[in-house]
C-alpha cells in the first residue's frame, strides 16, 4: 500500500468504499458505483472519473483482481474480486478510518 498522506486519506476513502463493496459481492465497475450509491442511500455518488483509476491502482497493489465475464444480459464486462491481501487491507483500512473519524468527531463535537 502506498504511504499515507492527507491526499491519500481522501483517495483512501474511495479505496475503502470499493474494497468494502467488493467484500460483499464480486461485480464489475458499474456495479460497484451503483452499489455504493445504493448502500449510502444516494449520499455518496462515486466520481466515475476516479473509480477506474482507483480500481487499476488497487489491482496493481494486488488487493483486488479482475477477470472478464458475462452479465445476465450476456454483455461482456470486467469483474473484480477481493484477494486475501485485499481482505486484510480492508480490515486495516476500516480500523484506521474508525480511529480517524473518531478523532474528527471528538474535535467537532467540542463546543
Amino acid at each position: 500500500m502506498s504511504p499515507r498522506t492527507t491526499t491519500d486519506a481522501l483517495r483512501g476513502s474511495l479505496d475503502l468504499l470499493v474494497l468494502k463493496t467488493l467484500s460483499l459481492e464480486c461485480t464489475h465497475g458499474w456495479g460497484i458505483s451503483q452499489r455504493i450509491q445504493q448502500l449510502s442511500a444516494g449520499v455518496l455518488e462515486v466520481n466515475q472519473g476516479s473509480l477506474y483509476p482507483a480500481l487499476q491502482r488497487l489491482e496493481k497493489d494486488g488487493l483486488i483482481y479482475s477477470r472478464w465475464g458475462t452479465t445476465e444480459n450476456n454483455r461482456r464486462a470486467r469483474y473484480y474480486e477481493l484477494t486475501r491481501g485485499g481482505r486484510r487491507a480492508l480490515g486495516q483500512e476500516l480500523a484506521s478510518w474508525e480511529r480517524f473519524s473518531a478523532g474528527l468527531e471528538a474535535v467537532l463535537r467540542t463546543s
Binding site: 464489475h28 465497475g29 458499474w30 458505483s33 466520481n47 466515475q48 472519473g49 477506474y52 483509476p53 487499476q56 491502482r57 496493481k60 454483455r75 461482456r76 464486462a77 470486467r78
Partner: protein, 853 residues
C-alpha cells in the same frame, strides 16, 4: 479497457432510459456522468501494465519525428548502413555460392577436373579427346568414376514447334559422378554410349516443365534431335544445373572412330578418384597415364605431355576467384567506413542533443525514460538501415546477374545468404546502435548545468570526445585511400584492356546464331549451298554493308584445334609443336569483321568443288613460315592437304590479352560439317530495324531456319571482359561512396569543432585577425587529420595491393601515378570539406559569436 468503459456507459444509458429519458439524451447524460473519457484514458494509461508497449510506441513515433527534423543525418546514416550491409551481403552471397558450394551435391570437393598440358606446343590446360577419356575410364583402379562432356545447341523437334535446346553430350558416368538421382524416370549410365543401344536422353527439370508440362507421360516419350530419334528416359532434380545452360543430356556414341580419336581436344573431363582424398596420389596416377600416352602415341622423346587435376570447385569459379577476393576485401573496407561514418554521425548528434537531454533531466525525466527514448530512436534508425540493406542487397544481386560474367557460373537466382546477412547486418547495426546509445549513458556523467551551458569545451569529457572524433576521421580517410587506390588500379587496367586492339572491329557488327536443320540439310554440300544462298539474300538487304557466316566467332569461347604438318618441311629445333586452331568461315568474314588480310586473297564461293584451300593467320605465319611467303604453300591439317591462299591479321579469339594461338581458316564453301554457326552482319541500322530485315531475308531461303541469340559484337567483347569489368564497376562504386562518406565525415567534424570554437574565433576576429587567417587555421586542422589518414592509407594500400597482381593489366600494384592521384584527390576533398565550415565561422559577426557564450 475501452470495452470496459463502453460497458459502463451503456449501463448508465440504459438506467436513464428506464427512468424515462429519451435515448440520445440518456446517452449524453451518461457520458457526462462518466466525466470525459479522455481524462480517464490518460490517467489509466499511467497505471496499466500494457502501457509499457503503448509508451514505447509513443517513443517510436517521437523518434520518427525527431529523425525527420534532422533529415540530413537520418538519410545519410540510414543510407550508409543500407549500402554497407546490402553490398556486403550480396557479394558474400555470391562468393559463398560460387566458391564454396556451387552445386547442391555431396562430395563436390572430391571431384577433379583433368586437363592436358602440351608444353611442346605451348598449349596448357586443354581438354581431352574421346580416345583419351576412354583410357581413363579403363582405369577403375585409379578412378571411381570418370566422365567427360561437351555442350552445344541442337534443334529439337517432335514436341510442338521446332526449338533449339542446349544439349550436353556425355561419355562415362556423368550422373554417377555427381551422385544424382532422377526426379522422374532414370538417369542413363556409361553403357548408354556403347554402339547398338537405343538413343536415350535426360532432360532438365526446367525443360520437363516447359515441354512436358511436368507430367509423368513425358518420361518415355520420343523426341527428335537434329532429326535423330531419342527417347526421354529421365528428369533431373530442379536444383542441379550443370552445365548451367544445359537443358538436355545425351550420351556420346563411342564407335570405333571415337575410340581412336586423340587429336580433337573437346571434352571437359571430370574424375572422382578412388580411395581417400590424396592430391599427390592423383597427380602421380595422372602422370603415369600421360607418360603411357607419350610413349605409345607420340613416340617418347622430350617434353612429354602432362595431365593435371584441379578441384572442380576451383575450376568452375575460374577466372572469377581473384576478382571475388578483391571485392570481398573492398566490401569489408566499405563496411568499416560505413560503421565509422555512422558512429561519427551518432557522436556528433549526441553532442548536439546533450542540451536537450539536460533540459529533460532537469524537468524530471528519469534516466530510464531517456534511455528508452534513445533506444527507440536508434532502433528506428537501425531497422531502417537494415531494411534498406536487404533491399539494396537484392538490387545488387540483380545487377550482378545482369552485368556479371556468364558461363559456368551460377549467378542467377542466388538469394541473399541469411547467415551472412545476419552477420554483416547484425554487426553493423549493433555497432551503430551502441554508438548511438553513448549519449544516453553519458547523460548522467554530465551535470545538467554543464550541458545546459551548451559547451563542454575544456572539460575532459569534451576532450575525449574530440579525440574520438578525430581518430574516427583519420581511420575513415585511411580506408578511403585504400579503396580509391584499388579502384584506380582497376580503372587503369580496364582502360588498358579496352584500348587493346583485338584484331578486329566489333562496332556495327551484329551476331546471330543460325541453326541448320539436319533433316533438310543432311550433308556438307547442301549446307554449303544454303549458307551461300542465305548470304546472298542478306547482303542484298538494304542497309547491310557486309555479311558473312562463321563458326568460331572471336571471344565466343567456341573453337576447335588439331595437329598439322607442313609437307616437305621437317620440324625445326625450338619450333612450337604443330597444333593449330581451326575455324570455318564463308567468304567475306574478314571484310565484315574488319580483319586485315596481310597477303593473298579471301575465300570465294567459286572455291567450292575445287582443291582445298586455307587461310592462315599472322601467328601461324610467323611461327612456321618465318621470313617466307606462305601463300601457295601446302598444309596438312584439319581437312587434309590444303593450299594456303592468304594470311590474315592476328585476332584475339579466346580472351583479350591472352597469348595468341596459331589459327587456320577453312571455308564453308568447301566444308560445312557443323550444323550451326553465326551469321555476322555489319550494318549502320539499329537492331530493331536490322534484325527483322535479316530474318525476312533468311526466311526467303528457308522458313524453317531459326535465328537466335542475337547480340552485338561489341557486347560480346564487353562480356568477355566481364569479371574485370565487374570488379571495376563495383570498386568504382565503393570508392566513390567511401569518398563521399569520408568527405561528409570530415565536414561534420570540422563543423562541430568550429562551432565549439565560435567564441574563440569571435575573440580572435575582434582582436583583429583577418578572415583568411581564421579560415586557414581551421583548414589546417582538418588537413592535419587528412594527411595523417592519407599517410596511413598509402602505407596500407602499398601493403595490400600486391595481392591484386593477378587481375591487373598494364599497371603495377604500386603504380605511382595512381597513388599520387588518389592522394591529391583526397587532400583536395579534405580541404574543401574543412573550408566550408571555416568560411561560415569566419563570416560570423564577432559580437554575435561572443554572445553565444
Amino acid at each position: 479497457m475501452e470495452e470496459e468503459f463502453r460497458f459502463h456507459v451503456d449501463m448508465e444509458t440504459e438506467k436513464r432510459i428506464r427512468a424515462g429519458m429519451p435515448a440520445t439524451d440518456a446517452r449524453r447524460a451518461a457520458l457526462t456522468a462518466f466525466g470525459g473519457l479522455e481524462r480517464h484514458r490518460e490517467r489509466m494509461r499511467d497505471g496499466r501494465g500494457r502501457r509499457w508497449l503503448e509508451d514505447f510506441g509513443a517513443d517510436l513515433r517521437y523518434a520518427g519525428r525527431t529523425l525527420r527534423r534532422s533529415p540530413g543525418f537520418a538519410v545519410v546514416a540510414i543510407l550508409t548502413l543500407a549500402l554497407g550491409i546490402g553490398a556486403t551481403t550480396a557479394i558474400f552471397s555470391v562468393v559463398n555460392t560460387v566458391l564454396i558450394r556451387p552445386l547442391p551435391v555431396d562430395g563436390l570437393e572430391r571431384i577433379a577436373v583433368v586437363r592436358q598440358d602440351l608444353p611442346s606446343i605451348g598449349l596448357n590446360g586443354t581438354q581431352l579427346a574421346t580416345g583419351q577419356v576412354q583410357d581413363l575410364i579403363e582405369r577403375p583402379d585409379f578412378f571411381e568414376t570418370v566422365t567427360a562432356f561437351r555442350t552445344g545447341d541442337l534443334t529439337l523437334t517432335g514436341t510442338g514447334d521446332a526449338t533449339v535446346v542446349t544439349a550436353t553430350s556425355t561419355m562415362g558416368d556423368f550422373f554417377r559422378t555427381f551422385g544424382l538421382e532422377a526426379a522422374a524416370g532414370r538417369l542413363y549410365g556409361a553403357g548408354a554410349s556403347e554402339p547398338g543401344n537405343e538413343r536415350v536422353a535426360v532432360v532438365s527439370y526446367g525443360l520437363w516443365q516447359q515441354l512436358g508440362g511436368g507430367s509423368a507421360d513425358f518420361v518415355g516419350s520420343a523426341i527428335e534431335l537434329e532429326g535423330q530419334a531419342y527417347q526421354v528416359v529421365g528428369v533431373l532434380p530442379p536444383e542441379f544445373r550443370y552445365p548451367r545452360s544445359a537443358q538436355l543430356w545425351i550420351p556420346i556414341l563411342m564407335d570405333a572412330a571415337a575410340r581412336e580419336n586423340r587429336g580433337q581436344l573437346i571434352l571437359t573431363t571430370l574424375v572422382r578418384p578412388r580411395g581417400p582424398a590424396d592430391p599427390e596420389q592423383l597427380a602421380a596416377q595422372l602422370e603415369a597415364v600421360a607418360l603411357g600416352w607419350h610413349e605409345t602415341y607420340h613416340g617418347g622423346g622430350s617434353d612429354p605431355m602432362r595431365l593435371h587435376a584441379t578441384s572442380f570447385i576451383t575450376y568452375t569459379a575460374g577466372d572469377l576467384r581473384p576478382v571475388l577476393y578483391l571485392l570481398l576485401a573492398a566490401v569489408v573496407l566499405v563496411l568499416l567506413i560505413a560503421v565509422a561514418n555512422v558512429a561519427n554521425l551518432q557522436l556528433l548528434r549526441g553532442t548536439g542533443r546533450a542540451r536537450e537531454l539536460a533540459v529533460r533531466t532537469a524537468l524530471g525525466a528519469s534516466r530510464f525514460r531517456m534511455i528508452r527514448q534513445l533506444t527507440a530512436e536508434n532502433l528506428v534508425l537501425v531497422v531502417a538501415g537494415g531494411a534498406g540493406g536487404v533491399w539494396l542487397g537484392t538490387l545488387t544481386l540483380d545487377a550482378l546477374e545482369r552485368w556479371g560474367p556468364s558461363g559456368e557460373l551460377f549467378l542467377a537466382g542466388i538469394p541473399l545468404d541469411p547467415v551472412v546477412l545476419g552477420l554483416a547486418g547484425g554487426s553493423a547495426l549493433l555497432a551503430a546502435f551502441l554508438f548511438g546509445m553513448i549519449p544516453a549513458l553519458r547523460v548522467s556523467a554530465v551535470e545538467p548545468q554543464t550541458a545546459l551551458r551548451g559547451s563542454t569545451r575544456g572539460s575532459s569529457h569534451g576532450r575525449e570526445r574530440n579525440r574520438l572524433l578525430r581518430s574516427s576521421v583519420v581511420v575513415q580517410v585511411a580506408l578511403a585511400v585504400v579503396l580509391l587506390v584499388g579502384s584506380g588500379l582497376m580503372i587503369r587496367t580496364l582502360s588498358g584492356l579496352l584500348g587493346l586492339d583485338p584484331g578486329f572491329h566489333p562496332d556495327g557488327v551484329t551476331v546471330m546464331e543460325m541453326a541448320i536443320p539436319r533433316t533438310s540439310y543432311a550433308d556438307s554440300p547442301t549446307r554449303s549451298l544454303l549458307i551461300r544462298s542465305v548470304l546472298e539474300r542478306v547482303r542484298a538487304t538494304p542497309g547491310v554493308a557486309a555479311a558473312a557466316f562463321m563458326w568460331g566467332v572471336p571471344l565466343s569461347g567456341v573453337s576447335d584445334s588439331s595437329p598439322f604438318e607442313i609437307p616437305g618441311v621437317l620440324a625445326r629445333d625450338g619450333e612450337p609443336e604443330r597444333h593449330a586452331e581451326a575455324r570455318h568461315v564463308s567468304d567475306g568474314v574478314f571484310e565484315t569483321l574488319g580483319i586485315r588480310l596481310l597477303a593473298g586473297r579471301d575465300f570465294q564461293p567459286s572455291d567450292a568443288g575445287g582443291p582445298i584451300v586455307s587461310i592462315i593467320d599472322e601467328t601461324f605465319a610467323e611461327q612456321f613460315f618465318p621470313g617466307q611467303d606462305p601463300v601457295g604453300r601446302q598444309l596438312n591439317h584439319y581437312f587434309g592437304e590444303s593450299t594456303i591462299i592468304g594470311v590474315a591479321a592476328r585476332v584475339d579469339h579466346d580472351a583479350l590479352a591472352d597469348p595468341p594461338k596459331a589459327t587456320a581458316y577453312y571455308t564453308t564453301h568447301q566444308f560445312a560439317y557443323v550444323p550451326n554457326g553465326s551469321l555476322l552482319v555489319r550494318s549502320g541500322l539499329e537492331g530493331a530495324e536490322l534484325v527483322p530485315a535479316v530474318r525476312a531475308a533468311v526466311a526467303q531461303v528457308d522458313r524453317a531456319i531459326p535465328l537466335y541469340d542475337i547480340q552485338t559484337m561489341e557486347g560480346l567483347v564487353a562480356r568477355s571482359l566481364g569479371p574485370r569489368r565487374l570488379a571495376m564497376l563495383a570498386l568504382g562504386a565503393f570508392a566513390a561512396l567511401s569518398l563521399l562518406l569520408t568527405a561528409l565525415g570530415i565536414y561534420g567534424v570540422m563543423r562541430y569543432t568550429t562551432q565549439e570554437r565560435t567564441a574563440e574565433i569571435g575573440v580572435r576576429m575582434a582582436l583583429g585577425a583577418r578572415v583568411g587567417h581564421v579560415v586557414g587555421m581551421v583548414v589546417r586542422q582538418g588537413l592535419a587529420m587528412s594527411v595523417l589518414g592519407t599517410v596511413l592509407g598509402v602505407a596500407g594500400a602499398l601493403a595490400l595491393t600486391r595481392f591484386m597482381g593477378g587481375i591487373l593489366f598494364g599497371v603495377t600494384p604500386t603504380d605511382p601515378l595512381t597513388f599520387a592521384g588518389v592522394t591529391v584527390l583526397l587532400l583536395g576533398v579534405s580541404v574543401l570539406a574543412s573550408w566550408l565550415p571555416a568560411r561560415k565561422a569566419a563570416r560570423l559577426n564577432p559580437v554575435r559569436a561572443l554572445r553565444r557564450e
